[in-house]
C-alpha cells in the first residue's frame, strides 16, 4: 500500500511553471526557467543534463527541500510549497524518500537506527516497524551489519542503507540525487538493480538525477535538462 495513493490515471507529481532564481549580491542566476511536466504513479524517471543545468535544484524542489521562486510542485494533488513547515516535514518523513550522492547517514547511529530514523523522528513505536526493518535489511543484504556504524561500511553499503532509510515508511516517491556518483561500477550496478527492483516490486515512483548514460536508461523515461529548460 502506498501512502495516499491515488488513481493510476492521476499524476503522482505535477510540476507547473517551476522557476528557481538565485541572487548573489548583484548577480541573479535563473537556474530553472519555468518547467512543466508530470510523473505518473510507479514511473521511473531519470533527469539528465550537464553541470549547472539545474538537475539537483529540480530534485530538491520535488523533495520539498527548497522553495521555488515561482510555479508549483504538486504531489498527489497537494501543492508542496503552500504547505507549512511541519506539513512539509511530515511529507518528507512519510511520503517521500530521498537518497543523496554522499549517503548522508548519521555517523553516530547504527545501520538499523539510521534506517529507522524517519520512524524515530515521527515518534511512532519502533516495534511496529521491526518486520519492515528486517525486510529492508534483507533486501539491501545488510542483515549482518545492522549493528554497525556507517564508518565501518563501504560506500556501496552506505548507499544501500540510505536507500533502505528512504523506504522505511513505504513512501510513494523515491528521489535519488546522483546515487551512484560516489560509487565504483560494481557497486553502482548493484545499487541500481536494487532501485529498479524496488520500483517493480513496490510500485514506488522513482526520480533520479544522474550523469550516467548507462543508468539513465534503467528507467521508463529520461528528462534532459539544459540551461533550466527541458530539451528534447
Amino acid at each position: 500500500m502506498k501512502n495516499d495513493m491515488k488513481k493510476a490515471s492521476d499524476p503522482c507529481i505535477k510540476v507547473e511553471g517551476l522557476k528557481k532564481t538565485f541572487v548573489n549580491g548583484t548577480v541573479t542566476v535563473e537556474v530553472l526557467k519555468g518547467l512543466d511536466f508530470t510523473i505518473a504513479p510507479g514511473e521511473f524517471v531519470s533527469i539528465m543534463g550537464p553541470s549547472g543545468s539545474g538537475k539537483s535544484t529540480l530534485l530538491y524542489l520535488l523533495g520539498a527541500l527548497d522553495t521555488p521562486t515561482a510555479g508549483t510542485v504538486q504531489m498527489n494533488g497537494r501543492n508542496l510549497h503552500s504547505m507549512r513547515g511541519r506539513e512539509k516535514s511530515r511529507l518528507r518523513r512519510t511520503e517521500l524518500g530521498f537518497v543523496f550522492q554522499f549517503y548522508n547517514l548519521v555517523p553516530n547511529l547504527t545501520v538499523e537506527e539510521n534506517i529507522l530514523l524517519p520512524i524515530i523522528l515521527d515518534g511512532k513505536p519502533l516495534k511496529m516497524y521491526k518486520e519492515r526493518l528486517d525486510e529492508l535489511l534483507r533486501i539491501i543484504d545488510m542483515e549482518d551489519h545492522r549493528k554497525h556504524t556507517p564508518r565501518k561500511l563501504s560506500g556501496g553499503q552506505q548507499q544501500r542503507v540510505a536507500v533502505a532509510r528512504a523506504l522505511i515508511f513505504d513512501p510513494g516517491v523515491l528521489l535519488l540525487d546522483e546515487p551512484t556518483g560516489n560509487l565504483d561500477s560494481k557497486n553502482s550496478e548493484s545499487l541500481m538493480r536494487l532501485v529498479a527492483d524496488i520500483n517493480k516490486t513496490f510500485g514506488t515512483t522513482i526520480v533520479q538525477v544522474t550523469h550516467s548514460d548507462t543508468f539513465s536508461t534503467w528507467g521508463d523515461r529520461i528528462l534532459h535538462l539544459e540551461d533550466g529548460m527541458f530539451s528534447d
Binding site: 516535514s89 512519510t94 523522528l121
Partner: protein, 825 residues
C-alpha cells in the same frame, strides 16, 4: 526517545576536547556562582559561631538605663528572658608570660555548672585569687593547677593561681596564644574593684520566639534596664556583603566569558553537524525537533557541568570555610554546612546558563533552506554589522552621558551602566575592525602578504571575531581588578600620607579612665615625644536607627590639622567647630550616611554606642571618602568618654627621634596594656595588605576569566579553521606550505589578541570611571584610575597565553589532506 538520548550522549562524547571545554566552562561558572552565593552565610557562620559559643548562647545584653557601668542585677524582671548570668568582665594583660591579652570574668561558682572540669575541683578551691583556665591555654603555656598568672588589670598587677582547668567551651571557646579568657571568683574581682553586689556584664537567654519580641517585652517590664542584642548577625553580614557583592560583580565577567564560549562551542557543534542536521531534515525532522535535540544537548551539558560545578563549589566553600575559621590553628573548625537551596539554585543556573548560551546558534542552525543546510550553502545574509554598530554606539554614548553628566544616577545603576558600556564596546568593535582592515588591507598586501591575508581572515571569520570578544571581556576583567587594586593601594597610601604623625598606638586593652590618663601622662613626660602632637581618637561600633554604625571620637580642635584626607571646610569655617562643646552633643556625619538614613543638618539622631543611647544633633555632612565605608558619625571624644563610657582609643604622636627606634622601645611599655605600636609606614603597609585580600579574591576571578577565555579562544580558532579547511586546502594546492599556514594561523591569533587589547586600552579610562561608580554602588567610594603601565605586564601575559593557545591548532592542522578536503565539497 531512547535512541535520541543515545544519539545525544554519543555526539557529546564524540569530541572529547570540546566536551571538556564545555564542561570546564559550565563547571567553573557554576562553582563560582555556588561559592559566591554561599559565601555570605559561610563567613557569617564562621564569625558568628565562636561568638555564639563565647556568649554561652545568650542573646541579650542587659545594661543599666542610668548609664552606670556597674549596677545591681537584683531588680531585673525576667520578662522576655529565660535566665540571666551576671558577672564582672575586665580586660587585662598577662605579665609573666608574653603579655597576652586576657578577659577576666568575675563569676559565682554556680555559673560554672555548664563547664566540664578536667579535674574535680571543689567550690572551696574556687575562692580568693583563684583562676579557671581552658585546656587549650593550659597546654599552650604548660600551666597546671597552682601555677601563678601575673595579670595587670585596673591599673595594678595582681597574682592569680590556676585552680581549675576546663574544656575549650563557653567563654574559653576562642582562646588563642595571643588572647584568652580567665574566670575568677566574683567576690575577688568585686572586692578588688570595690563594687560588691554590682555587675558590669549581664547577659540573658531570650524568652520569646524572636529576639525582637524578647527585647520589646523585657524593655517594657524593666524601665531601669535596657536589653540590647548581644550579637547581631546582620552586622557581620553587612560587612561581608561588600566583599561578596564585589565577587558577584566579577562573576559577571566569568559568566560573560563562559557564555561566549558555550555560544562558540555550539556554533562549532552546529557547523560540524550541518550534514547530519540536513539529513535529519531530509528525513522529515521538523526544525523544532532539530532545535530540541541541540537544546537537549545543552541541557545535558548544563546538568553534568552543573553537577561538577556544585561539587567544585562545595569544595571551594569548604576550603574558604576552613580558611576563614578563626580557630583553625587550634584544630577548631566549625561544622561545614550550606543551604540545600544553593544546590537547586546552582543546578538551575547551570542548566539555564548552558541552554541560553546555546540558544542563538541552535536557532540559527535550521534557519537556512534544508537544501542549503545539507549542501552547506551559505545564503547571502543581510549585513547586521551597521545596525549593531549603531546600537553599540548608542549604548556606549548613553553610558558615557549618564556617567559624566549625572554621576549620582550612574552610581544608582552602576552595574547596568557598566554592562551597557561593555556590551556597547563588543557591538562597536567589529565595524571598526572591518573599516580599519578594509582601509589598510590593499596597502599592506604587497609588502606583508601572509600578514595581510591573516588580517583579512580575521575580518571575514565570525569565529575569529568571537575570539576578540572573549579576549576583550577577559582583559576588561583584568583591567577591573588591576585598576581596583592599584587604586586601593594609592588611596590607602594617600590617606596615610595625609595624616600627620610618626607613631601610632592602637589595640590598648583598657577601658579604665585611670589607666588611660597614666598612659597619656607617661607619653607627655617622654622628652623624645613632641608633646603638643599627642592626639587621641576612638572608633566604636554601635547601632543607629537599627543599622550598624561607627562613631569616630575625635579632638575637634586638632583633628582637622591632623589629616587633609577629609575636607571639613565649610564656607569660611570648619564643620568640626560645632563639635567643640561636648555638652551640646553634636555630630558631623558622612554624606552616604545622611542619604541612607535620611538625615540633614539640624536633624536629631539617637546614637547607641556601648549600649547607651544619646540624642545628638547633626551639625554637618561631609564626604568621608574611604575613611570608613559604614554609616559614620564624628563626635567629640569627650562625648564617647562621658556619655557612652568608652575610654579606650588610639594615640598618634610625632617624635624628635627615629620613629622606628622609638617604636621598639615603646612597644615594651604598651605591651602591658596589650597595645600595638607602629610607625606610619608600618600602619600603612598593614592597611594596604588588609585591602589586598579583597583584590586577591577578585584576581582569582580575573584569572579564571583569562583561563576560560584562552580555552574559548582555542575553540574559536578550531571553528574558524574548520570553516576554512577548504580554503586552506586550496592554498595548499596552490603551493602554500605548512610553515606559511602556521604563520597565517599565528598571525591571526596575534592580531586578535593585540586588537582586543587595543580596544580595551582605548576603553580603559572610561571603564576605570565606571569601576569607580560601581565601587560607590558597593559602598566603597573611590576614584579609580586606569594606568597603562600597571596593566602592561597583564597585556603581555595575555598575548603570551593566547598565542600559546594557538599551538594545539598548529599541531591539529599539520596533516591537512588536500584531496579529502576538496573532494568532500
Amino acid at each position: 526517545m531512547r535512541i535520541f538520548c543515545k544519539y545525544i550522549m554519543r555526539t557529546m562524547l564524540e569530541k572529547k576536547a570540546r566536551l571538556v571545554l564545555l564542561l570546564f566552562a559550565i563547571t567553573l561558572s557554576t562553582a563560582l556562582f555556588f561559592a559566591s552565593l554561599g559565601l555570605t552565610d559561610l563567613i557569617v557562620e564562621s564569625v558568628s559561631r565562636p561568638i555564639v559559643e563565647k556568649t554561652e548562647e545568650h542573646h541579650i545584653r542587659i545594661v543599666s538605663e542610668t548609664g552606670d557601668s556597674f549596677f545591681s542585677a537584683d531588680d531585673i524582671v525576667t520578662a522576655g528572658i529565660k535566665s540571666h548570668t551576671s558577672s564582672i568582665v575586665l580586660p587585662g594583660v598577662i605579665q609573666n608570660l608574653d603579655h597576652e591579652i586576657v578577659t577576666l570574668h568575675g563569676r559565682t561558682w554556680d555559673s560554672l555548672s555548664p563547664y566540664t572540669f578536667v579535674d574535680a575541683p571543689s567550690e572551696d578551691s574556687f575562692s580568693g585569687s583563684s583562676a579557671v583556665i581552658s585546656v587549650r591555654v593550659a597546654e599552650l603555656f604548660s600551666l597546671e593547677r597552682g601555677d601563678a598568672l601575673e595579670v595587670l588589670f585596673a591599673g595594678e598587677t595582681h597574682t592569680l593561681h590556676v585552680s581549675g582547668i576546663v574544656g575549650n567551651q563557653g567563654v574559653f571557646y576562642g582562646d588563642t596564644n595571643r588572647s584568652f579568657d580567665v574566670i575568677v571568683p566574683y567576690g575577688y574581682l568585686a572586692e578588688t574593684l570595690e563594687v560588691e553586689g554590682l555587675y558590669n556584664h549581664v547577659t540573658a537567654v531570650m524568652g520569646e520566639d524572636s529576639l525582637d519580641a524578647s527585647l520589646v517585652l523585657f524593655n517594657e517590664m524593666n524601665p531601669d534596664f535596657r536589653g540590647i542584642p548581644l550579637y547581631n548577625e546582620d552586622f557581620v553580614a553587612s560587612m561581608v556583603n561588600q566583599q561578596v557583592n564585589a565577587l558577584y560583580f566579577m562573576l559577571v565577567f566569568i559568566i560573560l566569558v563562559s557564555g561566549v564560549i558555550i555560544h562558540g562551542a555550539f556554533k562549532l557543534i552546529v557547523t560540524e553537524r550541518r550534514r547530519v542536521i540536513g539529513t535529519f531534515l531530509s528525513q522529515g525532522a521538523t526544525k523544532g525537533t532539530i532545535r530540541g535535540i541541540l537544546l537537549a544537548e545543552g541541557f545535558v551539558y548544563g546538568l553534568v557541568g552543573g553537577a561538577f560545578g556544585i561539587l567544585l563549589g562545595i569544595g571551594m566553600l569548604y576550603v574558604l570555610h576552613d580558611y576563614s575559621s578563626p580557630l583553625r590553628a587550634y584544630g577548631v573548625v566549625e561544622p561545614f554546612r550550606f543551604a540545600g537551596a544553593l544546590v537547586v539554585y546552582a543546578g538551575l543556573f547551570a542548566i539555564g546558563f548552558a541552554m541560553v548560551s546555546a540558544l542563538s546558534p541552535v536557532i540559527r542552525s535550521v534557519r537556512r533552506e534544508v537544501k542549503n543546510i545539507i549542501l552547506d550553502i551559505r545564503e547571502p545574509q543581510r549585513k547586521k554589522g551597521a545596525l549593531l554598530f549603531v546600537l553599540g554606539t548608542l549604548l556606549l554614548c548613553g553610558s558615557a552621558l549618564l556617567s559624566y553628566v549625572s554621576p549620582p544616577t550612574a552610581i544608582d545603576y552602576a552595574p547596568f551602566v557598566m554592562l551597557s558600556a561593555i556590551i556597547g564596546v563588543l557591538m562597536v568593535y567589529p565595524r571598526v575592525l572591518d573599516f580599519l582592515i578594509s582601509l589598510f588591507f590593499r596597502r599592506i598586501l604587497p609588502v606583508f602578504r601572509l600578514t595581510a591575508l591573516s588580517i583579512q581572515n580575521v575580518r571575514t571569520s565570525a569565529a575569529l571575531r568571537g575570539n576578540i570578544t572573549v579576549i576583550v571581556i577577559a582583559a576588561i576583567s583584568v583591567v577591573t581588578v588591576v585598576s581596583l587594586s592599584s587604586s586601593m593601594v594609592r588611596i590607602v597610601t594617600d590617606a596615610f600620607d595625609s595624616m600627620r604623625f610618626d607613631i601610632y598606638v592602637h589595640n590598648i586593652q583598657t577601658n579604665d579612665p585611670g589607666s588611660r590618663r597614666t598612659i597619656m601622662d607617661t607619653l607627655r613626660e617622654d622628652e623624645r615625644i613632641v608633646g603638643e602632637s599627642l592626639m587621641e581618637t576612638t572608633s566604636v561600633e554601635g547601632n543607629v536607627a537599627g543599622e550598624f554604625a561607627i562613631a569616630e571620637g575625635i579632638e575637634p580642635g586638632r583633628f582637622d590639622d591632623f589629616t587633609d584626607y577629609i575636607d571639613f571646610t565649610h564656607g569660611d569655617g570648619n564643620l568640626l567647630d560645632a563639635l567643640e562643646n561636648a555638652e551640646e552633643r553634636n555630630t558631623v556625619i558622612a554624606t552616604t550616611t545622611a542619604a541612607r538614613l535620611g538625615l540633614d543638618v539640624g536633624s536629631a539622631v539617637d546614637l547607641d554606642f556601648n549600649g547607651i543611647v544619646q540624642t545628638y544633633t547633626v551639625t554637618g555632612i561631609v564626604d568621608v571618602r574611604l575613611w570608613n565605608t559604614r554609616d559614620m558619625f564624628f563626635v567629640n571624644l569627650a562625648n564617647l568618654r562621658e556619655d557612652h563610657h568608652i575610654d579606650h582609643g588610639r594615640i598618634y604622636f610625632d617624635t624628635h627621634e627615629n620613629p622606628e627606634t622609638l617604636v621598639d622601645e615603646l612597644q615594651d611599655y604598651f605591651r602591658n596594656f596589650g597595645g600595638i605600636v607602629q610607625t606610619r609606614d608600618e600602619a600603612r603597609d598593614i592597611n594596604i595588605e588588609n585591602n589586598r585580600q579583597l583584590s586577591r579574591m577578585l584576581s582569582a576571578f580575573s584569572l579564571f576569566a583569562i583561563v576560560i577565555g584562552s580555552f574559548g579562544a582555542l575553540n574559536n580558532m578550531f571553528i574558524s579553521c574548520l570553516q576554512r579547511k577548504r580554503d586552506f586546502a586550496v592554498l595548499e594546492s596552490l603551493g602554500t606550505h605548512q610553515g606559511q599556514r602556521n604563520r597565517i594561523l599565528l598571525t591571526e591569533s596575534l592580531f586578535c589578541v593585540v586588537f582586543a587589547l587595543v580596544v580595551v586600552v582605548l576603553y580603559g579610562n572610561f571603564h576605570a570611571r565606571l569601576i569607580g561608580q560601581v565601587a560607590s554602588f558597593l559602598l566603597l567610594p573611590m576614584d579609580i584610575t586606569f594606568s597603562l603601565v600597571e596593566i602592561f605586564p597583564f597585556l603581555l601575559a595575555s598575548i603570551a597565553i593566547y598565542t600559546l593557545a594557538t599551538l594545539p591548532l598548529l599541531v591539529k592542522t599539520r596533516n591537512l589532506n588536500v584531496i579529502e578536503e576538496m573532494k568532500i565539497e
